[in-house]
């Protein structure tokens, strides 16, 4: 006889526990449980049958997977929580009694919860960690831009945490610059999105995307609970630390990259990192503690080797670089005392310093998009964003700090592009160029170039010009069809071959291309508008009705006035008639087609009678969503056509 099954001992009733049951079982407070859940990545579940999971009660409850809670029972963190609770009590007592020595001793032996095991547990492989890096990077960046008291009078964010966040995000970027792994940039209304290709376990590339808000003070709503965010941040910081360690180690670099104390003293928090090759560091100090002196020494050595290795750079360029190094300047920032408060809002540094020491990059500079160019960043552009992007793509950057104006300083000759985000007259531009040949562009040009992985024409990107739309590089296949983009791409692809041969004439080529493109576009538009070669109206009319003699006569008269020969006229008429006939035919076919479609539709309707109920419902759902999507698409397309029409009208009048 089969075993008697009792209610509530198997299935959903056994698989799920409510939150209160979990709390009782773990004997911890709700806030500790929350922390544990965040750190361990435990989340509520939605049982298929809530009533069954809740042992017959239909009261609203949050359910957790029974085994998740079971595993929490022997979590080392739980022990740490308890230890900390005891410690807090002891410390409070000691302080209350004024036993300062005891308090000091206790404070020294404070139990510290480490999250290393959680990182390994939650992300057993490096690839998994990378796949989940988006949220950590977003949050860490967000915190690096926050003040210590985001909501006055509420939870404080320790300034050390903020400093660590900004260190982590800079280290991440430094790594991205060094390995040139930046693939996409997108300027959204929420901020700038970046995407990197990061080599995971076994060399498979993982795409990591993160968002950096624009450099403004963040608006923090009062209902944001920073305790939750800080708990997440604890885990994320640990995770990013380990990821960076792995990435740096694979690049044969010392992690954490030592801080140049001198630069640090000058108020340089991010730029003070120096990338040090592992061997050099080991030679200096066995313990891994890198002294300032050692760093200096290492830097010198690397500089020398870097100059040797950098074959592509000409002699003068090298000089220029050295000059750059020498007079390397950084963003002015408030004094150190203020900085504690202000770490968040402080603008980032130039990346010159970051890369000054990087030895031969892993990818050859030749293949990089911007390697032949030097960009001047005008002061209203965000150096945090554009320096990172340009350097990651192999370009060189001169900021407005080293030279207040592009024409200033010795670097003026090496500049190829000036990135400017404000209107400027052509005269002024020419004046500043003073014979040199600079390309004046708005920052969007860089993002568009990166996204298309090629240098696009700077036409339309000039200062003060109305920019072409900036499209998301993550637009999928189901997005709105834009024929003009396709064509542009094709043209660009054709042009690219020519581009390779003559580097010098890129600009002009691009311009030419653009022009020709424009022309073609126009032609295309005409074609699509008329749908056929243009004929005089009378001729058209007669073609429509070939039997009508009066129309024919009118057409002949018109031809005479136009000065067309009779033979030509005949040929034209014949052609027009033919075209017309084909059109009529196609129309008829179209009508027939729709009829047929209708008939087919009727038939399909009938076949649907034989579907099972389940399938019929599924089919309806799918059809509904398809229809929704199509409607959305159609709406956008319609809007686009309307806008184009309006624009054309405006252009004509």
């Amino acid at each position: 006889m089969a075993k008697i099954k009792r209610k509530g001992e198997s299935g959903a009733a056994k698989n799920y526990v409510t939150r209160n049951q979990a709390l009782k079982k773990l004997q911890i407070s709700l806030s500790d449980f929350r922390r544990l859940c965040i750190l361990k990545g435990i989340y509520p579940r939605e049982p298929l049958n809530k009533k069954r999971a809740n042992k017959g009660s239909s009261a609203p409850a949050t359910f957790y997977y029974h085994k998740d809670i079971q595993y929490l029972l022997h979590e080392p963190l739980l022990v740490k929580f308890r230890e900390h609770k005891a410690f807090a009590k002891k410390l409070a007592r000691a302080l209350g009694r004024g036993e300062w020595a005891l308090a000091k001793n206790l404070e020294e032996a404070k139990p510290v919860a480490r999250l290393d095991h959680l990182v390994k547990e939650r992300y057993p492989t490096f690839t998994l960690a990378l796949q989940d890096l988006q949220d950590p990077l977003n949050l860490v960046h967000l915190f690096s831009t926050l003040p210590t008291n985001p909501i006055p009078g509420k939870t404080l964010v320790p300034s050390a945490v903020i400093a660590e966040c900004s260190r982590l995000i800079s280290e991440w970027k430094v790594w991205a610059i060094r390995t040139h792994s930046l693939k996409k940039v997108f300027l959204g209304i929420k901020g700038v999105y970046y995407e990197c290709d990061v080599p995971g376990q076994g060399g498979e590339n993982v795409r990591v995307r993160w968002l950096e808000g624009y450099e403004f003070q963040q608006h923090v709503p009062t209902d944001v609970d920073f305790r939750i965010l800080l708990t997440f941040l604890d885990l994320y910081r640990t995770l990013i630390n380990f990821v960076l360690f792995k990435l740096y180690t694979e690049e044969n670099l010392v992690y954490p990259p030592p801080l140049d104390e001198e630069l640090d003293e000058r108020g340089e928090s991010v730029g003070a990192f120096r990338l040090v090759e592992k061997k050099a560091a080991e030679g200096v100090d066995g313990t891994g503690q890198v002294s300032k002196k050692a760093v200096r020494k290492a830097i010198k050595g690397i500089k020398a080797s870097g100059a040797d290795a950098d074959v592509e750079m000409g002699e003068d360029e090298d000089e220029a670089a050295q000059d750059e190094d020498a007079e390397e300047d950084f963003v002015e920032r408030p004094s150190k005392a203020d900085e504690v408060e202000d770490v968040a809002t402080a603008p980032l540094t130039t990346y010159n310093s970051l890369l000054a020491t990087s030895s031969t990059p892993s990818t050859s500079r030749q293949s990089l998009l911007f390697s032949p160019y030097t960009f001047y960043l005008s002061r209203e552009t965000s150096s945090r964003t554009w320096e990172f992007v340009i350097r990651a793509m192999g370009g060189k950057v001169i900021t407005s700090l080293s030279a207040p104006s592009p024409s200033d300083g010795a670097t003026a000759d090496s500049i190829t592009h000036v990135i400017i985000d404000r209107p400027m007259t052509a005269e002024r531009m020419r004046e500043m160029e003073s014979g040199r040949k600079w390309t004046w562009i708005q920052p969007q040009w860089i993002a568009d170039c990166v996204n298309r992985q090629k240098i696009i024409s700077s036409e339309g990107y000039g200062p003060g010009q109305l920019l072409p739309p900036h499209l998301s590089p993550w637009d999928g296949e189901g997005e709105v069809y834009r024929p003009w983009l396709e064509e542009e791409n094709k043209q660009a692809a054709e042009g690219a071959e020519a581009e390779e041969e003559e580097d010098d004439t890129i600009e002009r080529d691009a311009v030419d291309e653009d022009e020709s493109e424009d022309e073609e576009e126009e032609a295309d538009e005409d074609e699509t508008a008329a749908g056929e070669p243009s004929y005089p109206p009378a001729l058209l009319a007669s073609a429509l009705d070939p039997e009508n003699a009066s129309l024919l006569h009118a057409a002949e008269l018109e031809a005479e006035t136009n000065g067309t020969s009779h033979a030509d006229f005949r040929a034209q008429l014949k052609e027009a008639t033919k075209a017309n006939a084909s059109k009529v035919k196609s129309n008829a076919a179209g009508v027939a087609g729709t009829n047929k479609k209708k008939a087919n539709g009727g038939e399909e309707d009938l076949r649907k009678i034989m579907m099972s109920n389940k399938k019929a419902k599924l089919y309806e759902k799918m059809q509904y969503s398809n229809r929704e999507r199509a409607a959305e698409k159609e709406k956008l397309e319609k809007k686009r056509v309307a806008i184009e029409k309006r624009k054309r009208k405006e252009a004509r009048s």
């Binding site: 859940c37 509520p44 390994k120 057993p124 998994l128 300027l187 792995k246 969007q444 920019l467 799918m622």
Partner: protein, 847 residues
């Protein structure tokens, strides 16, 4: 004994607590005790003087109050009760043992009792009383009793010595000796007579005390404590020791009693003593008790409920310091621990030798290290593991400079603003800025990140399978309708009824020449199938025609029409071939010849009330019009089902209770009711096309009966709410059922008792379902005004399910009053369909 003693003392305490300190012992006893106490006191006088250095405790005062009656000079009585009693006892015992031996009778036991009682009193009143405590405190060598020994008489000394040596020194002689004495019972050690030099403990007789039976009060009643009513009818009241009767004391009669009462001024305060059989005069004290009891007062006159409180431990100079132990602080409390010292020295040594480094920073793990290696393996996938979904990448709509079509119109903006936050498709409105420098900071960045965090740890996760299939693949693969031709496609002939009357029924003659229709105006019309001309009509003048049906027998032209209470058998004799007409007439009229227009029930069982069914020959005039027979039946018959041979037909009248289903035989003019009891309201019936089986459909079930064996063969569960129509496949193994709840159920009777397919494609109730008699077609008509044509191939192979293919929807009938198409018939041998509708039309649909 010890335990008894203890319990007795405790009970005493309880009783005293209830009764208060002033007891009311029997006077005799009190006196005796007083004497005893005095005698004891005499002995103690010196002792009391010796102990005069000791503080007078409150205890004594209390004792004084309590024992007020006892005597004035027993002040010192309780000074050292434990010592006294023990010693005294011992001494007395010794004396008694030597002198009077066993004859220490009442006196001694009484004295012992007295002693003991006092003992107990002090012990029980304050189990751990203050005098004890003080004694303990003051037990310094200076005030020890030994010093006072000098003042003791030599006799006393001697007796004490004897006592000391004769009694094993008691360790508990200290602080709580008294308690322990009380506990273990104070017995006397008496030299054993049996064992040389041995002692035995001998306990005093225990007197239970006041109110007990063994009290010293002499009881003149010698008959014993028996209910005296036993002797009510006897002259005596018991027996004396020698067995002689004790006679009842002389008592006067009632009059005497009354007179005595009147005469005796004390009569009111005398009571009858049952045991003594005499009246006893109550003492003043007893009367007082009675009075007090009447007034619900404490019966004890001396009891003072408002005594002043006695402060034992509170008040000036009476506070006690805890702990109560007088033990001196041990030395170890003041001397540093040797072992601790040793331990500390060990550590000190270890530190000096460098084995222990104080304040050494713990060898912490490095903050970062290589946590991942290339050999790492991902966890095995588990059904309950659901990683959080990644944030979707930003689309062009989020661009700071999107193409213009992405920008919302004013209306869309307003809609977005008015929508709830949860309902919005995107959390932002697309916006366009001319230059990057004009883009403001995004206000909701922190909020969004916070919400993401909340989602990560608070949002329940479920696995949702996203089907990535072509929806078209869900549609079953069926042969194209055009491959399954011929089937009716279009309406070719219309048979219009005047006045748009509802045409409830239609039928096509088996030779496919005529269409009969029965309309609600009570006329059965006969139409030429091909050209739609009305060729004949019968005006039955008895309400709407419910049903018409041609006999399927081709050699006869018989038509049955149903009206209220009547089944009419007709034939268009003038229109058919003479041979057919003759055959029809013979078939119908033979029975008239034999039974002259009478009614006869069939061979079936007699059913009560069948006399109502009559086969009536119509009048001559009607017969000329072709009406052959009337069968008068109960209720309104609604359906006719012909047997394939054209002799039997069944009618259903739902409102005719147990005679709703009737089977009529034309050749014999016989009617039988096959069911004695019906399983429910029968909706439709049908004959099996080949076997002698009979289908009857109730509202929900279809039952198959064997007519020959008269048994129920099967019950099919339709799964629909209300069956409206039914038809049997010509093969006999399949069945379709239409229902008022818009469903069509196909039964494969070889397969199951439940429908093989239930189709729901009509939007209104189904009215009629019919199989084509020869072609693989069936059709259904509904109130939605449409007729659906289906192809249905039934395979002879049992393993293969029937193939059903929807072919065509025929539209044309108008819906009037919510009713569309009412009846359908196929034209025999052709893929043509005849339908009748509520719009007063009969239509012929041709391929």
């Amino acid at each position: 004994m010890a335990s008894r003693n203890a319990t007795a003392s405790s009970s005493r305490v309880a009783s005293r607590a209830a009764a208060g300190p002033s007891r009311v012992p029997p006077s005799t006893k009190t006196k005796k005790r007083a004497v005893e106490e005095i005698s004891v006191e005499d002995d103690e006088d010196e002792f009391g003087a010796a102990g005069s250095g000791i503080d007078m405790s409150d205890d004594d005062e209390e004792e004084e109050q309590v024992e007020g009656e006892g005597g004035e000079d027993d002040q010192e009585e309780e000074e050292f009760p434990e010592f006294d009693s023990e010693l005294e006892d011992g001494e007395e015992d010794l004396v008694a043992g030597e002198g009077e031996d066993a004859s220490d009778g009442d006196d001694e036991s009484d004295s012992a009792y007295g002693e003991e009682e006092d003992d107990e009193e002090s012990g029980s009143e304050s189990g751990y009383n203050s005098s004890d405590i003080e004694a303990m405190y003051d037990s310094s060598p200076a005030t020890s009793p030994s010093s006072s020994h000098k003042e003791l008489s030599t006799d006393e000394k001697l007796s004490k010595m004897i006592a000391k040596h004769s009694v094993k020194p008691d360790e508990t002689l200290g602080s709580d000796a008294k308690i322990s004495g009380a506990k273990e019972g104070v017995g006397r050690l008496v030299p054993s007579k049996l064992v040389e030099g041995g002692y035995k403990r001998e306990y005093e007789e225990y007197e239970a005390g006041y109110g007990s039976e063994s009290s010293t009060e002499d009881n003149p009643n010698t008959v014993g404590n028996i209910p005296m009513e036993w002797y009510d009818d006897l002259p005596h009241i018991g027996y004396d020791v020698n067995g002689r009767k004790i006679f009842r004391p002389a008592q006067g009669d009632e009059l005497d009693k009354f007179l005595a009462n009147v005469e005796d001024p004390n009569a009111w305060m005398s009571a009858e003593d049952k045991l003594m059989q005499q009246s006893v005069q109550l003492t003043d004290k007893e009367l007082d008790i009675i009075r007090r009891l009447e007034r619900a007062e404490n019966p004890d006159a001396d009891y003072d409920p408002y005594q002043p409180t006695i402060e034992w431990f509170t008040g000036e100079g009476k506070e006690r310091v805890m702990p109560l132990s007088a033990a001196p602080e041990p030395k170890r409390r003041f001397v540093p621990s040797k072992w601790e010292h040793k331990k500390v020295m060990k550590i000190v040594k270890a530190i000096r030798e460098g084995r222990i480094i104080p304040n050494k920073p713990s060898a912490a793990k490095p903050t970062v290290y290589a946590i991942w290696s290339d050999a790492d393996q991902a966890n095995a996938p588990h059904a309950m593991y659901m990683p959080a979904p990644q944030l979707p990448p930003p689309k062009t709509a989020e661009s700071y400079n999107p193409p213009e079509e992405y920008l919302p119109t004013e209306q869309e903006k307003e809609e977005w603003e008015n929508m709830d936050k949860e309902d919005r498709k995107t959390d932002f409105l697309p916006q366009k800025y001319d230059a990057l420098r004009l883009v403001p900071g995004y206000k909701n960045l922190v909020q969004e990140k916070f919400e993401r965090c909340l989602d990560l740890y608070l949002a329940p996760r479920t696995r949702k399978v996203k089907l990535n299939i072509d929806p078209e693949s869900l549609i079953p693969k069926l042969p194209a309708p055009k491959e399954l031709k011929p089937f009716p496609i279009a309406c070719s002939v219309q048979y219009r009824h005047p006045g748009d009357t509802r045409v409830r029924a239609t039928s096509v003659s088996p030779d496919a020449t005529f269409v009969a229709s029965g309309s609600e105006d009570g006329v059965v019309r006969l139409w030429d199938l091909g050209n739609g001309r009305e060729v004949w009509r019968w005006d039955l003048k008895s309400g709407p025609i419910q049903y018409v049906e041609w006999s399927p027998y081709k050699d006869e032209a018989l038509l049955v029409a149903l009206v209220e209470g009547k089944v009419v058998v007709m034939s268009p004799l003038a229109l058919v071939a003479p041979t057919v007409a003759a055959a029809t007439l013979t078939h119908v009229n033979t029975a008239f010849a034999s039974s002259a227009a009478t009614t006869k029930m069939g061979a079936g069982k007699e059913v009560k009330g069948t006399e109502a069914i009559k086969w009536v020959r119509p009048s001559e005039k009607e017969r000329e019009r072709g009406v052959l027979v009337y069968v008068e039946v109960p209720g309104t018959p609604k359906q006719v089902a012909w047997h394939r041979k054209g002799d039997y037909f069944a009618t259903v009248a739902a409102d005719a209770s147990n005679k709703s289903v009737l089977i009529h035989q034309l050749s014999k003019h016989a009617t039988q009711s096959p069911f004695r009891k019906l399983p429910g309201a029968v909706q439709r019936v049908a004959f099996h096309p080949t076997k002698p089986h009979f289908f009857a459909a109730t509202q929900r079930y279809i039952r198959l009966y064997d007519l020959a064996g008269q048994t129920l063969l099967r019950t099919l569960q339709s799964g629909v709410k209300w069956i409206s129509s039914m038809d049997v496949h010509p093969g006999g193994d399949n069945l379709i059922v239409g229902s008022y709840d818009k469903k069509l159920a196909w039964f494969d009777m070889d397969l199951s008792a439940k429908p093989y397919k239930t189709l729901r494609y009509h939007t209104r109730a189904l009215r009629s379902v019919v199989y084509h008699p020869t072609l693989p077609l069936f059709a259904s008509a509904s109130d939605d005004g449409t007729i659906h044509i289906f192809h249905c191939t039934v395979y002879t192979d049992l393993m293969q399910n029937p193939l059903i293919v929807p072919l065509k929807i025929l539209r044309g009938h108008r819906i009037t009053d919510g009713i569309g198409v009412l009846d359908l018939r196929w034209v025999a041998g052709k893929p043509w369909l005849v339908s009748s509708g509520a719009d007063g039309e009969v239509r012929l649909w041709c391929s």
